[in-house]
Amino acid sequence: MRFQDISLRKISDTAWEIPQAGGMLVPGRIYASEEMMGDIVRDEALRQVINVAHLPGIRSFSIGMPDIHWGYGFPIGGVAAMDPSVGVVSPGGVGYDINCGVRLLRSGLGIESLRPRLPELVAALHREVPSGVGSTGDVRVAGKEMDRVLTEGSRWAASRGYATPEDVEHTEDQGRFPAADPEAVSATARKRGEDQLGTLGSGNHFLEIDEVAEIHWPEAAEAYGLFPGQAVFFIHSGSRGLGYQVCDDSLDRMAEYMRSHRIVVPDRQLACAHILAPEGERYLASLAAAANYAFVNRQLLAHRVKETVERTLRMGPRDAGIRLVYDCGHNNAKFETHEVEGKARRLLVHRKGATRAFPPGHPDLPAAYRAVGQPVFIPGDMGTGSYVLAGAEGAMRLSFGSTCHGAGRRMSRTQAMHSARGRSVVSDMERRGVLVACASKRTLAEEIPEAYKDVSAVVDVVVRAGIARKVARLKPVAVVKG
């Protein structure tokens, strides 16, 4: 089968291969259903899978998840694993919002008991949790304290009373990338990060109250502390301006490195440097620092959510029962051990709009989840719902321990704005049973439910491929957006 000039071979119900050709060092591998390919081929995402396959040191496949869509350099929903001895690291394989990710907080509350207080609670969360463009947080850090945030991640939050030991344990990599070096972060980036800790941001970032609508795998749901009818809180945010600046700063250095080392790639946004070169090491040190900032940002957001819920509902921590299920990033590059051609190898895994999904028994998982696998959260559009998955064995064989990260956009922001014109998105959402509080109506219009692919179809692909297992389906009841 061919789409434009791209050759595609269907290798199973859920997998497609772009054969290795030209300068590609490995084939492309897309996980998607036949129906989904119709959306995927409409933009440049497949071309970007091919471009990534040209990067030095890439192993096995250049991978696209079912929520793949057009990004810059790498596609969003892209995974690429590099051999550190010969391979490169590319900021385009991580994205500007370094360690953007999601965390899920469970509660001891049933959604029905909460429903009469929802308008009050949503208003309080919108007021108390800083969101929107240019929002600033209450916790300002600079100088040595910023160094600690960038170096220690969630442990800094715990040392300041914003996190419990369980929060740290239930965060990917215990909320800390150890390679972080604050010296590798520019003064501009640090400045941008000084007043943005504990802020949601705008665009597709959100705070959501959901109901656990359906349990698919009771054993895993029990391990994650989830039960039907439960109120849970979903947070999506990243490393804010500090992370954007780290990425931006690195692109110039990478471009210079490529010129001096005569590395030629098909797209300028695939700027890269060898992992072991000083330029590569410096980027990884700054990336780790920004990732730690993102962990702290989401931890502070969670802390504020917990405080606001308890205060609004006049409940103590024990009655509200708000605890972190897990926090996982979806824009990262980090070293992990994976099997390639029958041998365990240490690889640098880029995940851009893709989530780590380690299977049961993996040593990097918290003890509480080791029997069932890593919790993975797949937010859908704000009107339909989201999924809680667990990493499965197939992820290690098929996708370097990775799965999708969301529904994936199918409509441009301009199209979404046109589609939303003349109607009230807030009223539409209320008719669907979802309360909305937002800083910008324009952002809301860009994020209308129909702008996204069907999250159930996306999840169905990774489940059928054996990459993840369904644990629970969540239904939104309230959304706070920037």
């Binding site: 810059y72 969003i76 463009v133 240019g134 300028r268 946004q269 409509m411 922001r413």
Partner: protein, 139 residues
């Protein structure tokens, strides 16, 4: 200010902008205005302050990229919004003057956060009708 010199082109996740100008300086000025039109309603921005952004000699694509990065930093570091832009060229360097003011939440709605101006698919073209540039911003 009233003449529309930019339009949005389809892009799935981010925003792809096309701008036009009679010459390179006016193209760069139009690009700066387009960037701020993505952020706010420029008609509500008062031209109280001027910021001068120097763009050194370089290929036009690079000049566009350098200018837009500097302009975006004004928003993130100083919350500066732009009403209008003008540009002059001398010995290959372009000097862009931005007129505007610091964002005032009471008067300025900020539409969205722009994470970065990207080099992806960035282009500057010259033809008989003038200059055209395209760039993508990550939102």
């Amino acid at each position: 200010m009233t003449r529309r010199r930019h339009r949005l082109l389809p892009h799935t996740a981010d925003l792809c902008v096309e701008v036009r100008g009679d010459d390179l300086p006016s193209l760069l000025a139009a690009a700066a205005e387009a960037l701020f039109s993505l952020l706010t309603d420029r008609r509500r921005v008062r031209p109280k302050e001027r910021k001068i952004l120097p763009v050194p000699p370089a290929p036009p694509e690079e000049q566009l990229y350098l200018l837009l990065r500097q302009a975006l930093l004004l928003v993130s570091s100083e919350r500066f919004l732009v009403r209008s832009a003008g540009a002059t060229m001398e010995s290959g360097s372009v000097v862009v003057a931005l007129a505007g003011e610091a964002a005032d939440p009471a008067r300025h709605e900020l539409f969205r956060e722009i994470k970065a101006v990207t080099r992806h698919a960035l282009s500057v073209r010259r033809d008989a009708g003038g200059w055209t540039a395209r760039f993508i911003v990550d939102v």
